[in-house]
C-alpha cells in the first residue's frame, strides 16, 4: 500500500513538473521590458509583455475607428489579450509561440487582420538591444517597425 502511494505521488510529480516549468529560453532580454511594434502600412501599433512564468499580455491600438462600438461586441479602438507562450529557436531567430486565452466570446479584429502577435502562432522576436529599433518585413510580407523599450 505504501509503495503504491509512493508510486502515485512520483507519477503525479513527474506529470506535473514539466507543466509548471515554462519554456522561455531566449526571451530573457524581454522580461520587464516592452516590445513595441507598428504596422508600417495600417499604422496599427501595440505592445507585448513577456513574463518569465510563460504568460504574456499583448495590446493593440487600431487607431480611430470610423464605426463606433454598436454593442459590447465592439468594434473597439483598443484590443488586449493575454495567454501563455513557449519559445523555440528557429535558425538565428527566437520565436515565441503564443497561445491566447480563447475563452472570450469576441472577435479580435487584430487577429482577423493578421497583425503580429495577435493570434495563436509562433512569431520571431526582434533581435534588439534595449533602446534600439528596426524595420523588418515579416514572412507574410507585412512591414513592421519594432522597438525594445526599457521597463514597462
Amino acid at each position: 500500500m505504501k509503495k503504491l502511494l509512493t508510486l502515485v505521488l512520483l507519477a503525479l510529480a513527474l506529470g506535473l513538473a514539466p507543466k509548471a516549468r515554462a519554456q522561455t529560453v531566449g526571451a530573457e532580454n524581454f522580461f520587464n521590458n516592452t516590445i513595441y511594434y507598428q504596422n508600417q502600412k495600417t499604422l496599427v501599433s501595440g505592445a507585448l509583455w513577456l513574463d518569465p512564468d510563460g504568460t504574456y499580455i499583448v495590446y493593440f491600438n487600431r487607431g480611430g475607428q470610423k464605426i463606433m462600438p454598436q454593442s459590447a461586441a465592439g468594434p473597439f479602438q483598443f484590443e488586449g489579450r493575454e495567454g501563455t507562450y513557449t519559445t523555440r529557436i528557429v535558425g538565428k531567430d527566437t520565436e515565441a509561440c503564443l497561445k491566447p486565452d480563447t475563452s472570450t466570446p469576441f472577435t479580435y479584429y487584430t487577429e482577423k487582420d493578421g497583425e503580429v502577435f495577435a493570434g495563436t502562432d509562433c512569431y520571431a522576436l526582434p533581435a534588439l538591444a534595449v533602446g534600439t529599433s528596426e524595420i523588418k518585413t515579416l514572412p507574410d510580407g507585412k512591414s513592421y517597425k519594432f522597438w525594445l523599450l526599457a521597463g514597462r
Binding site: 516592452t34 513595441y36 507598428q38 499604422l43 496599427v44 501599433s45 505592445a47 509583455w49 499580455i57 495590446y59 491600438n61 487607431g63 480611430g64 475607428q65 470610423k66 463606433m68 462600438p69 454593442s71 459590447a72 465592439g74 473597439f76 479602438q77 483598443f78 484590443e79 488586449g80 489579450r81 493575454e82 486565452d101 475563452s103 472570450t104 466570446p105 469576441f106 479580435y108 529599433s133 522597438w147 523599450l149 521597463g151 514597462r152
Partner: protein, 212 residues
Amino acid sequence: MTAFVRSRLSGWLVLGLALVCAAVARPASAQTQTHPADPLAIYYGNTIVCGRTHSGNDLCHVWFYRDGKMVIFDQGGLHPAHYKVFSYRKSGAISVCMYWNDDHTTQPADLIEQPQPLPVRGPMPKLPGKDPGRVCINDPTGRTTCRMVPDVSVLPADQQAIAHDSMGQRWQGGMCYPYREDVKPGAVWLEWDDPAPSQDGGDKVWFLAGHH
C-alpha cells in the same frame, strides 16, 4: 394596576421592542446581503471599457486582478498599475482608486501618430484662461474631484504643482472611480459620477466578458 393589565402591558412592550429591533436590524442585514465579500469579484477576468459619452469611441480598457494588480491600456500604451478598494458611495457603487506603477508611458518617441476621429460633438474645447490647468484631489473616502482652473498661478504652491501634473503623474497619484456591483458582462451604461469626465460630464462604460 391589576396583574392582568400589567401582564398585557408587558406583552405589548415585548412586541414593541421586538418590532423596533427588527426595524433596526433590517437595514444591516439587507446591506450585508447586497454587497458581496469582494466588491470587485464580478470584474476579475472581464474588461471595463471607458468610452466617450456620445460617440462611444473607447478611451481605455481596464483589467482587475484578485491580487491588487491591474492593467490599463489606452492611447498612451499598456500601463502596469495597482488598485485600492475604498468605501461604498450613496449610489451603491464602490470607490476604487487606481494607480499607475510609474509616472510615464512606455512608448517610442518616434511612433507614428494614428489619425483620430473627431468626437461627435466636435473637438474637446481648449481650456480658457492665461495658464489653465486641472487640479485633481483624492479624499480619504476614495473620491477624486477634479476642477478646471483658468490661471494656475493664483493657486497655493502645492496645488500649482498638481495642476501642472502630466497624465502619468496624475495617474501615479491615483484616480478614483465608482464601480457598480449590480452589473453583468454585456452591460453598457453612462456613468455621471466621474472625476474627469471625457465629454459632456460623463463616460460611457462597456462591461465586456473576458479580457479584451
